[in-house]
Symmetry: C2
Subunit: 123 residues, 2 copies
């Protein structure tokens, strides 16, 4: 059976506190799968690890399928141009691993609904 | 009675398609308040309008209270350092308007739950 890992891929920031929601998200995903589905964080810049490092760790844990989820609001240049190049690099490093890439989380209707509800609770 | 507006404050990007979820979010908020609560988008950089322009338009529409919601995942330098400076500038321009600032949407538990559910639907 395929072992399927998830990489939460974010932009990265200079302030380490920016990372907190990403860590909380990883904990939620690990809890939801009772630890059966490896979850790693990866960042485009300014924070470690980068995607090749994070993906390499999931492969070392036995993953043969990895889904990269861009934790971005919109599909801009980072998701449309930078990320495919890094995924291509990862695919060359791990030719036997199936690497899939999701649409940015902020494009999801239910995510936007939750953001809208949050906004309405602020006024 | 106070008229309360909302500014959805995002980073901005070079690719105009990045903006789409922000436009959808604004539509959701306008629908939720049946048009009674003005909603504007504003961006830190790379996209128009900036926050002073957006806030000025809400004030021109009669808002005397405005809540700025940072549509960011984490509370990094943009939210902790850049945004307060721009809000200070807006406050000086509109001293009679009460300008409030929310915590970044990605810090909200329900938003993170929705993101986690989205991630789980990708695997």
């Amino acid at each position: 059976m395929a072992m399927h890992g998830i990489v939460l891929f974010g932009h990265g920031a200079r302030d380490v506190r920016w990372r907190e929601p990403f860590e909380r998200l990883a904990v939620k995903l690990r809890e939801a799968s009772a630890g059966a589905r490896p979850v790693a964080l990866a960042f485009l810049e300014l924070m470690e690890p980068d995607l090749p490092t994070a993906l390499g760790e999931l492969v070392a844990q036995g993953c043969d399928v990895v889904t990269v989820v861009p934790v971005f609001f919109g599909q801009g240049g980072h998701v449309r141009k930078d990320l495919p190049l890094v995924i291509e690099q990862c695919q060359a490093l791990h030719p036997s691993v199936r690497i899939k890439c999701a649409v940015a989380v902020g494009e999801d209707e239910a995510v936007l609904d939750a953001v809208a509800q949050y906004c309405l609770r602020q006024v």
